[in-house]
């Protein structure tokens, strides 16, 4: 069961999309999982053949539980995949099989289904977790990470060292919390209550653990909006860009120069994110919110960002987000100005270290070159983790966002 956000402790397996014997490849959707917040499609990042489904539909299991095993293909695996296979094959095989990939070994040779944690399969371990592993004598290759991008945290190591759950890839480690039954029908009210609880727990943790600091900057949007209106004249209704797309792109490009804002604080250390994956805060119509990742936003054109956000919003509301979108965001952007407020002092989404907020774009008196004029102005705010950065860096980040918005043609 992958961690689909820091606020998730367990998930209900609603549906399997594969059965034993099915061939799977990177990015295939293999299962539908219900977190308390939403139904999420779980992707697989291994290539091979499904060996065994270990968790029945309808069962609720804790994060980290192995859902299924997949037998790797003997041929045609990419280097990244074989690296993973090697890492995990270090788990005690029943006999030292010379060619484990082909050997008809029982469970030992089958690889645990590493669901959708990350595109990058190298072992991610926080320094603290590495130290703990040395002290406790835990083999890191046997530990399944519950941190962002599948990172192994100190807590994971400690869990792995305790005898009761020492063997994460055996079936014994997969106790179903609920008896396998028909997938429970989640009522909207129950979903609401669960979502409030999940948001509440995560935000309380954020406020308890993260020493936030807040900065704000008013940005003249006249150039950006003028450019946008011109660009939209040439675009079909379907392809038109929204101002929020400019804001997202500006944040993505600015954060490339401020890597200390893009990543995670785990076990007392900062881990830079692999890529710029913007968490886009989307409010759900029934209440609550979700912030799935817009992957590699710094590499995308405005049109691609627009299409990406549109797709995310539609799927967030339909309850069809993917597991990688839930676990990957490296920094969150919230555009609460849509609802009319002037500015937002955000609460950081742990274990991320920064959140950028935008208020409403409003016409305001604005002095330029000794003259007073009326300009559309947006207030950009930054909430950042003081453990990872200082106000000096945060201030630079906001001015970089402003700089990006002054040259919209390059966004």
């Amino acid at each position: 069961m992958p961690s689909l956000g820091a606020d998730m402790e367990s998930g209900t397996l609603l549906k399997w999309y594969v059965k034993p014997g099915d061939a799977v490849k990177r990015g295939d959707i293999v299962a539908l999982v219900d977190t308390s917040k939403a139904e999420i499609e779980v992707e697989i990042f291994e290539e091979g053949v499904i060996d065994e489904l270990l968790i029945p539909e309808g069962a609720r299991v804790p994060v980290g539980t192995v859902l299924a095993t997949v037998r790797p293909n003997a041929a045609g695996t990419s280097p990244a995949v074989s690296a993973t296979v090697k890492d995990e094959a270090a788990a005690p095989p029943p006999t030292p099989a010379p060619e484990p990939a082909v050997a008809p070994a029982p469970t030992g040779a089958a690889q645990p289904l590493r669901a959708a944690i990350s595109e990058d399969h190298r072992l991610r371990v926080s320094p603290l977790a590495r130290r703990a592993a040395e002290q406790l004598g835990v083999d890191l290759s046997e530990v399944s990470g519950s941190g962002p991008n599948g990172a192994i945290t100190k807590a994971d190591v400690e869990r792995a060292s305790s005898p009761a759950v020492a063997a994460p890839i055996t079936r014994a480690a997969a106790p179903a919390l609920a008896a396998p039954a028909a997938a429970p029908a989640v009522t909207p009210t129950a979903r609401q209550a669960a979502m409030r609880e999940a948001i509440g727990a995560l935000m309380a943790r954020s406020k308890r653990e993260i020493p936030h600091y807040y900065l704000e900057l008013q940005i003249d949007m006249s150039g950006a909006l003028e450019w946008l209106h011109q660009a939209n004249l040439a675009r079909a209704v379907n392809d038109r860009l929204l101002p929020s797309v400019l804001l997202l792109s500006a944040v993505a490009r600015a954060v490339v120069e401020m890597p200390e804002m893009n990543g995670f604080w785990i076990d007392g250390a900062f881990q830079p994110g692999a890529g710029v994956h913007l968490g886009v805060a989307i409010s759900l119509r029934a209440g609550g919110l979700i912030a799935p990742a817009l992957h590699d936003a710094d590499q995308k054109s405005l049109g691609e960002i627009m299409a990406g956000v549109r797709d995310l919003v539609a799927r967030a509301r339909a309850g069809r987000l993917r597991s990688s979108e839930m676990s990957d965001p490296t920094i969150t952007v919230t555009n609460l100005g849509e609802r009319g407020v002037d500015l937002v002092h955000g609460v950081i989404y742990p274990p991320q270290v920064a959140l950028v907020g935008f208020g409403a774009v409003r016409e305001r008196p604005w002095a330029v070159d000794g003259m007073l004029g009326v300009r559309p102005v947006v207030t950009a705010t930054l909430a950042a983790d003081h453990r990872a950065s200082d106000g000096h860096a945060g201030s630079r980040f906001l001015t970089l966002i402003e700089r990006e918005l002054k040259k919209p043609e390059e966004l």
Partner: protein, 86 residues
């Protein structure tokens, strides 16, 4: 399309983005974004849906003219007439 049909197109597009909306309960003179709690992405989707069903291209600068249900229907009726006359 007559006015009744245009009204149907607009309310249809609105209930698409705000599924819990009772079409009969929309106040035709109240601001739609505020009344139905829809954001700019939702509004754009409404414009796209109207375009798909009526063929009417609504330029961005005219978005404010579709702020209420009655405004929107009047705007579309006029745009349609203009299109037919041209």
């Amino acid at each position: 399309m007559n006015e009744q049909q245009l009204r149907g197109v607009v309310t249809g597009a609105l209930t698409e983005v705000a599924p819990e909306t009772d079409p009969g309960a929309i106040d035709p003179d109240r601001d739609l974004t505020e009344q139905l709690d829809i954001d700019s992405m939702d509004f754009l989707n409404v414009i796209v849906a109207i375009n798909e069903q009526t063929g009417i291209e609504i330029p961005e600068r005219d978005y404010p003219k579709l702020s209420t249900l009655n405004n929107a229907v009047a705007y579309l009726a006029a745009a349609q007439k203009q299109g037919a006359g041209a």
